[in-house]
Amino acid sequence: MMELLLDIASWFLLIIGGAFVFIGGVGALRMPDFYTRMHAASLTDTLGTILVLTGIILQAGLTLATIKLVAIMVFLLLTSPTAAYALANAARLSGLAPERELSNEKRP
């Protein structure tokens, strides 16, 4: 019974995480300008990472793999937002301005 519940929980997390990663990918392709694309990719990537890795941890149970997965998660949670920040910051410093006006008429 316990195992079944764990399985359901872990698959739920994995599917939700995969959905977030997918939405991030779609956002990175579809959003109008650089900063909104970054926003879509970075935010959902972080959330997707947490959900997917938690799902895998539930599958792994209390083993050495769990410790490794937690280490990977901590590493990704530190580096992924930092990379997103550095990218956006570099774009801003090099003079790329966010698009202010985003009316539907401008976009086909």
């Binding site: 590493f75 530190l78 580096t79 930092t82 920040y85 550095a86 910051n89 410093l93």
Partner: protein, 328 residues
């Protein structure tokens, strides 16, 4: 499932390769090269070559990208437009067709009857536990059975390091400003987050490098991977805190010592074996017990490899960075 992953990754690899060739902006090409290496590492991993995957990820996606970027700082950002040249296109197409034709004769992936699995591999797999007794057969082959080959590889890296020193080195002045000094001066405020996180990560990267170095007998890893990881950590330190700080931590003199010392250590272990009555690079005579001797020999030889690789990669990085400062 693995086949699906493999096809997916190989398709991505081809797309990335076309992207590298097609991109006019060299910065884009360099970034795609890093992605290419990462995909290669993933492919190596699903082929169960964890040692190679680790090397490819650390060298290809990590250190090589930084080196290419430092080289890019010395040159223009854009490729000069060239007319399409037909001779290379024809040669490449013909070669591609021949290679594709040759793959029809290739045994299937993982086929136990494939010639590679029939030749020396069974002998290594059978005799490693008896003769060397380390769980990672790759390390046993690399450092002991095939010690000569690895010595040759080490000398290749050694020669490359010396070549770069000859071509690009300038006597480093104390307090020299470098490639990244500009960002350092103006960007303290702007780059606070990467700096803080980078500093936080450096010790863990170096620690992981040391783990890979000394755990190579038991898991994937060894001198090459550890050297790449440790130098990636030090390069990260140079990127966030300025190259001067990194040079203060490990001086160019010390780096040159590492390049030569690692190769010397490798050869020294071989000669020690000769003096103790064995063959060159025969580690069995290094200790009373032949297996203990093998363990000691592999440890020392891997340490030599790690030293030379770290020294060479860092020297190449510093040479590029110093060169940029000269040009300005």
């Amino acid at each position: 499932m693995i086949t699906l992953f493999g096809v997916f990754l190989l398709t991505l690899l081809v797309i990335t390769a076309f992207g590298i060739v097609r991109a006019q902006h060299l910065f884009v090409s360099v970034m795609l090269t890093g992605i290419f290496s990462l995909q290669m590492a993933a492919i190596f991993f699903i082929l169960d070559a964890a040692d190679v995957a680790l090397t490819e990820a650390a060298v290809g996606a990590g250190v090589a990208t930084v080196l290419m970027l430092s080289a890019l700082a010395l040159t223009e950002n854009r490729e000069r437009p060239t007319r399409p040249r037909w001779v290379p296109v024809i040669v490449v197409s013909a070669t591609t067709l021949m290679v594709i034709y040759a793959t029809f004769d290739k045994p299937l992936l993982g086929d136990p009857d494939a010639p590679v699995h029939q030749h020396v591999a069974p002998w290594y797999l059978e005799n490693t536990p008896r003769l060397i007794d380390v769980p990672n057969v790759v390390t046993a082959i690399l450092a002991s059975f095939r010690g000569y080959d690895t010595l040759g590889e080490l000398f290749v890296i050694f020669t490359a390091g010396i070549g770069v020193l000859f071509l690009m080195a300038n006597p480093s002045k104390p307090g020299a400003v470098s490639l990244f000094a500009a960002t350092e001066a103006e960007g303290l405020r702007h780059h606070l987050v990467p700096r803080v996180v980078g500093r936080l990560l450096v010790p863990f990267i170096v620690l992981f490098g040391l783990y890979v170095q000394f755990h190579g007998d038991y898991g994937p890893g060894g001198g090459f991977q550890a050297g790449a990881l440790i130098s990636a950590g030090v390069i990260l330190y140079a990127l966030v805190d300025g190259e001067g700080k990194a040079l203060e931590a490990i001086s160019p003199r010390f780096l040159r010592g590492m390049i030569a010392g690692g190769a010397l250590l490798y050869v020294g272990v071989g000669i020690a074996g000769m003096l103790l009555g064995g063959n060159f690079l025969d580690y069995s005579v290094l200790a009373q017990d032949s297996i203990a001797g093998q363990h000691l020999g592999i440890l020392l030889v891997e340490a030599g490899v790690g030293l030379t690789v770290t020294g060479t990669l860092l020297t190449v990085f510093h040479s590029f960075a110093a060169r940029d400062q000269q040009e300005r």
